[in-house]
C-alpha cells in the first residue's frame, strides 16, 4: 500500500510539473494582459505533434523536443504579432471568439497535415526501462520528466524573481499601467512572454507525448486543467501556478488511484463502483470550489 501511494505520489508530482509548464505561460498572459486565451491548449497540441514528427524524422527524442519548443515559439511570436496584440484592449468576448476560432483552425490544420490517427512518440531508448527506487521499480522516463519539470520551475523562478525582465513581469502582473510608466517596452515584453509560454507548452506536449496519446483534441482537456491550476493559484502568479499545479496533479492522480479503493472499504460495493470514478474525476473541481469559497482571488493573488 505504501509503495502504491509513493508511486502515485511520484506520478502526481510528474503530472503536476507538466501542468505547471502549461499553466505558467498562461497565467502570465491572463495576469498581465488581462486576456483570456483559449488557444493555449492548441499550442500544447501543436508542440506534441511537432515533437513527434521531428523525433520520428530524426530518430532523436531530444531533437524532437528542441524542434517542438523552437517551432512553437516561432508560431507563438507570429500569432502574437498578427492577432493577439490586437485583442489586448478588446473585451473578453472578443478574446473568447478569436482564440476559440484558433482552436477550430488548429485542430483541422493538424488533421490536414498529420491525418486523423494519433501519432506515436517513443521515449528515448536509454530511458525506456524502469529503475529501482526506494525498493520498487519506477519508469526512468517519468523520472526524467520530473527532473526536467523541476529544472524548468527553478529556472522560471530565477527568471521572474532575480532578473530585470522578471521584475518587469511582476510589476506588469501587479499593475500594468505602472509597468508602462516605468518605461518598459511592454509590447516586446508581451511578445517574448507569449513565445516563452508557447515553448513551455510545447515542451509539456512533447514530454507527455510518450505517456498520453498525441491526438487532435488533446489540448482541450489540458486547457481546462490549466485553468483550474490558475484559478487555485491566483491569476498572474508563477508561485501560485506551481503550487496549484502540484496540488491538482497530486490530488487528481491520488484520487483516481486510491479513492475507489477507499470507498469500497467504507461503503457498499455497488455504491463505490458507481460513485468512486465519478468522485475521483471531479476531485480537483471540488478542491477548486473549496479554495474559491475561502479565497476568491486564489492562493497567491498577484494583484493586491
Amino acid at each position: 500500500m505504501t509503495q502504491l501511494v509513493l508511486e502515485q505520489l511520484l506520478n502526481g508530482l510528474q503530472f503536476g510539473l507538466m501542468l505547471f509548464l502549461i499553466a505558467s505561460g498562461l497565467t502570465l498572459v491572463f495576469g498581465i494582459m488581462d486576456m483570456i486565451n483559449l488557444s493555449h491548449g492548441s499550442l500544447y497540441m501543436g508542440g506534441a505533434y511537432l515533437g513527434a514528427a521531428a523525433a520520428q524524422a530524426s530518430g532523436s527524442f531530444v531533437i524532437g523536443l528542441c524542434a517542438a519548443m523552437l517551432g512553437m515559439a516561432v508560431i507563438g511570436i507570429v500569432l502574437e504579432l498578427l492577432l493577439l496584440r490586437r485583442l489586448y484592449l478588446r473585451d473578453h468576448l472578443a478574446q473568447v471568439l478569436a482564440t476559440f476560432a484558433l482552436i477550430l483552425i488548429a485542430n483541422d490544420l493538424v488533421r490536414m497535415i498529420w491525418g486523423p490517427q494519433p501519432l506515436m512518440l517513443n521515449p528515448p531508448a536509454a530511458l525506456a526501462g524502469p529503475v529501482e527506487l526506494f525498493g520498487f521499480s519506477y519508469p526512468a522516463y517519468r523520472l526524467l520528466i520530473i527532473a526536467i519539470g523541476l529544472a524548468v520551475a527553478l529556472l522560471l523562478y530565477l527568471l521572474v524573481s532575480h532578473t530585470r525582465v522578471g521584475m518587469w513581469v511582476r510589476a506588469g502582473a501587479a499593475n500594468r499601467t505602472m509597468a508602462e510608466c516605468m518605461g518598459v517596452d511592454v509590447r516586446w515584453l508581451f511578445t517574448g512572454l507569449f513565445a516563452l509560454g508557447a515553448a513551455l507548452a510545447a515542451a509539456a506536449g512533447t514530454l507527455l507525448g510518450p505517456l498520453l496519446a498525441v491526438q487532435v483534441g488533446m489540448g482541450e482537456n489540458i486547457l481546462i486543467l490549466a485553468f483550474v491550476v490558475i484559478v487555485i493559484g491566483g491569476i498572474g502568479s508563477i508561485r501560485g501556478a506551481l503550487v496549484g499545479a502540484l496540488l491538482v496533479g497530486v490530488v487528481d492522480t491520488l484520487g483516481r488511484a486510491l479513492l475507489p479503493t477507499l470507498l469500497r472499504a467504507v461503503s457498499a460495493p455497488e455504491v463505490a463502483g458507481h460513485l468512486g470514478p465519478a468522485l475521483a474525476s471531479i476531485m480537483i473541481y471540488l478542491l477548486m470550489a473549496a479554495i474559491l469559497f475561502w479565497r476568491p482571488q486564489g492562493l497567491f493573488p498577484a494583484r493586491a
Partner: protein
Amino acid sequence: MTPARRGNLVEAGVLLAAIALPLILEALGEDFYIGFATRLLIFALAATSLNFIVGYGGMVAFGHAAFFGGGAYVVAFLMQAGIFSAWIAWPLAVLAAGVAALAIGALSLRTRGVYFIMITLAFAQMIYYSIVSLQSAGGDDGLPLEQRSTLAPFDLASDTTLYWVALATLAACLIALKRLAHSRYGRALAGLRQNEQRMEALGYPVDRLKLVCFVIGAGVAGLAGALLANQNGMASPTQLYWTQSGMLLVMVILGGVGQRYGGVLGALALLGLEEALGLTTEYAHFYIGLALLAVVLFAPRGLAGLAGLRAR
C-alpha cells in the same frame, strides 16, 4: 409606417414563413431538412438563453453546455425510469438546470472578469466528468432515448410536430425576452451592465439580480437540452463538453451580444455555415475559424450589428 410597426411586420412575416417551412420542405421532398431546421431552432433557443446571461446580465459565462446538455440527460434519465411524459420531464429538466445554476452561480459570482469565465468553465467540466463517469449514464457513448417524449395531445413522433414545438418554444422565449427587457428587472439589468458600482450604491442587490439572470438563462438552456435529446434520440456527452459551451458563446458573439435576435442569428449563421461547408470539405471548422477571426477583426458588434438591427 414607424420603424416599430415595420419591425413587427417583419417579425410576423418571418414567423409565418417559419411555420410554413416544414410543409414547403415536404412538398419539395426534402424532408431531411426538417430535422436540420429543428436543430437550428433548438440551438437558437440555447444561444438566446446564453445571450440573456451574457448580453443582458453582463456575465461572460462559459459553462452553458452543462445546463444545455444537462437538460438532455434529465430527459434521458427520466425515460430510463419509465417517465415518458414531456409535461413532467421537460419542467424537471428546467428545474434541474436552474438548481445547478443556483449553486454554480452563487459560487462563481463571488468573482469577476477572467476569473468568472474560468470558473464557470471549470464547474461545467465538473458536471461533464461526473456524468461521463457514471456507468448508468452510458459513459462516453451517451444515453439513447427509447422513444421521443410524449406531449399529449400532440404527437412528437412526427418530425414536423417536433419542429413546431421547438418553434413555439423559441418564439415564446423571444417574446418573453422582449417583455422582460422593458420590465423593471430588465431595466435594472441594463443599469448593472453599465455601472455595477452605481447600482450597488443605489441600493440594488447586485449579486441577487445577476444570480436570478444566470438561473433563468440556465433554465431555458435546460429546456433547449430537453428538446435536443428528443431531436437527437439521445443525450450525448459531447453536448456537455466545454467546446459546446464555446460554440454557444461563439454563436452569441457572432450574432450580436445583447441583441434580442443575436442568439438566433448566430445559431443560424454558424450551423448553416457548418452544414454548407460540410458538403464540400472535410475541414469545415478550419474555414469557420477563419471566418470568425474576420468577424473579430472587422465586425466587432456581430452580425446584428452589421445588419443594423438594434431591436432589443
